[in-house]
């Protein structure tokens, strides 16, 4: 098998905020058509890592490459222009704007009437609705609806559809399923797979092993800012992954502990330990 060039590659990236070292010596490759699950406990540095990829933070040291070419982002716009799109937990959208308007924020379609440039609402609405329907969200059919009236999953889907529409090559999703119910989360997961099928590289942050296992091809685990594990699908068991996500502590044991406790205590969970 010939090694293909990674869409995005980090080499020995460090990031510190003043005296606080958050990322240590991260080297990581992200390939097209692949979902990379970024796992780790709270505060492990996942968000910091993706913000570095997205041009929000500059690495303190280390290098980044896109398609083998060295890149350096001064601002989020630079990363966006190279095709790195980030979708934040709540879709990062504008609750009081319409679907059509928010879809095209910053790249408004216009038509010309005499000397005046006019926001082309019809095109905006039609394009936005079409883009999200292509991802299987057929309930969104009116571009004049307000974003705030959509469900969390629909918002996520819209944000992902938007990124894909504008030609993203790397899609970064920071806990897209965190606030969602089971059904909504599965919608988003399906869209993640759809994005992957279209050849995007997806970086997916989650705290839920099930979600990671459902879509991940490649897993990277951060523990206190260092890359503790980096492996492909099938190389580690669910229990091992769960352990790693908890920072190496035996969390898997806890599950069985709780279960046996509930069995012997008429279904009551154990009191939290302090």
């Amino acid at each position: 098998m010939t090694e293909k060039t990674a869409v995005l590659e980090l080499r020995n990236v460090n990031k510190s905020f003043g005296p606080i070292d958050v990322l240590h010596d991260i080297s990581l490759k992200v390939n097209a058509g692949e979902v990379l699950c970024l796992l780790g406990d709270n505060g492990a540095g996942k968000s910091t890592l993706i913000k570095t990829l997205a041009g929000v933070h500059k690495p303190t040291s280390g290098e980044m490459f896109m398609d083998g070419e060295k890149v350096s982002f001064e601002r989020p716009k630079d990363a966006a222009d190279r095709g790195i799109a980030t979708v934040h937990q709540f879709g990062g959208t504008f609750p009081l704007m319409t679907i059509g308007r928010s879809f095209f924020v910053g790249v408004e379609p216009t038509k010309r009437i005499g000397p005046f440039r006019i926001f082309d609402r019809k095109t905006a609405n039609e394009t936005a609705v079409k883009a999200v329907q292509e991802f299987g969200i057929t309930r969104i059919d009116d571009g004049d609806r307000l974003i705030g009236g959509l469900s969390g999953g629909e918002r996520q889907s819209l944000a992902i559809a938007r990124a894909v529409h504008f030609g993203a090559r790397v899609l970064i999703l920071d806990e897209p399923t965190a606030a969602l119910g089971v059904k909504q989360a599965s919608h988003v997961l399906r869209i993640v797979l759809e994005a992957k099928k279209r050849g995007l590289a997806v970086i997916f942050i989650t705290h839920q092993v099930t979600h990671a296992m459902a879509v991940g091809d490649h897993f990277a685990v951060l523990i206190r800012g260092a890359l503790a594990a980096n492996f492909m699908r099938g190389e580690k068991s669910r229990e091992e992954i769960t352990d790693l996500m908890a920072g190496g502590e035996a969390l898997a044991d806890l599950d069985t502990e709780i279960e046996s406790h509930m069995e012997t205590h008429e279904g009551h969970p154990p009191p939290p330990a302090h």
Partner: protein, 328 residues
């Protein structure tokens, strides 16, 4: 647009508010209020505050306040009066000087708001006091007085300080022109989208490639220019500039904007709403004189309108969001 969609627009409430208030004062104010004297008196007030309320409203939609307009009005008025009245330069130099003061204060506001983490409310209160102090200090220093008089040439007077039919100030026409320009900017041009976007979520807007800083600075400059324009028009109308006065514009402009359905927290609002809110405010403000009611009642009505507007704006937002979900 469906009936439901019309019912949930905040402008609908603004129209209802205006009609109710107008009928109320028409009942108490009699023929004079319904006739030309009444219309001219509230339209003159509406034009003055309305020209300032437009950019203040856009700033509020974008998530910022501008308190400093209250000091820019007298500062620009005084600047123009000193340049053209005291130093005898041509009117246009005085006008440009006055507008320059407004643009400069607006630029400083925008610069401080976008470069520091200080809330715009505090920044613009700060610049308001600085500008007030400077206006007083410089007027006394240069002219040795807190008021400067100036008699404009006939053309300037007819453009900026004339009363049509002896009643309607030309500012009304300027106000309409500004309202049309702002309507185009906010609702038709692509840039209007940016104003809503930065009011909704500045960070995301910036990441989407919107020049958020430049836009905010630009809006503050607009607001400074509009306040300066009103100051200059006052000078041309009354032929004298005072260092004091203008503070009323601070609360009045905010009230017009909020009564017009703009969300205090930003992200939503419309130019039509701002214009309607301004008219409502002006009708109450002048209706009280015509009706012969105690002027405290006017304050009470304005206060009640403001509270009702804030509550209904919030209600409308919730309704709009819920409606959108249900509609299917």
């Amino acid at each position: 647009m469906s009936l439901g969609a019309i019912a949930i627009r905040p402008e609908t409430a603004s129209v209802v508010g205006l009609v109710v208030v107008y009928i109320f004062f028409a009942a108490f104010g009699g023929a004079a209020f319904i006739g030309a004297p009444g219309w001219s008196s509230w339209l003159n007030i509406a034009a003055e505050v309305g020209i300032i309320a437009l950019p203040v409203g856009l700033l509020m939609i974008s998530g910022e306040f501008d308190i400093s307009v209250g000091s820019i009005v007298p500062a620009a008025s005084m600047t123009a009066a000193i340049i053209s009245g005291h130093y005898d330069w041509p009117a246009y130099v005085g006008i440009l000087g006055g507008l320059g003061v407004g643009a400069l204060v607006g630029y400083v506001n925008g610069f401080l708001v976008t470069r520091t983490a200080i809330p715009s409310l505090i920044v613009t209160i700060g610049t308001m006091f600085v500008v007030m102090g400077l206006t007083l200090g410089l007027a006394v220093l240069i002219k040795g007085s807190t008021s400067v008089s100036y008699v404009p040439d006939p053309i300037t007077k007819s453009l900026l300080g004339h009363f049509i039919n002896g009643m309607f100030n030309v500012s009304i026409i300027w106000w309409i022109a500004f309202a049309v320009a702002f309507y185009y900017f906010l609702h038709i041009s692509p840039m209007g989208n940016w104003v809503f976007a930065i009011g909704g979520d500045r960070e995301t807007a910036r990441n989407a490639g919107i020049p958020t800083r430049q836009l905010t600075v630009g809006l503050y400059i607009l607001s400074g220019l509009a306040a300066a324009f009103v100051g200059i028009a006052q000078l041309m109308t009354y032929q004298s500039a005072q260092v004091a006065g203008g503070q009323a514009f601070i609360f009045n402009s905010i009230m017009c904007v909020v009564i017009g359905g703009v969300l205090l927290t930003g992200g939503a609002g419309s130019v039509i709403g701002i214009v309607l809110g301004t008219m409502t405010f002006a009708v109450v403000n002048q209706g009280i004189f015509f009706s012969g009611l105690d002027s405290n009642i006017g304050s009470i009505i304005i206060g009640a309108l403001l509270l009702a507007a804030v509550l209904s704006n919030d209600g409308f937002r919730a309704l709009a969001l819920r409606y959108a979900t249900k509609k299917k």
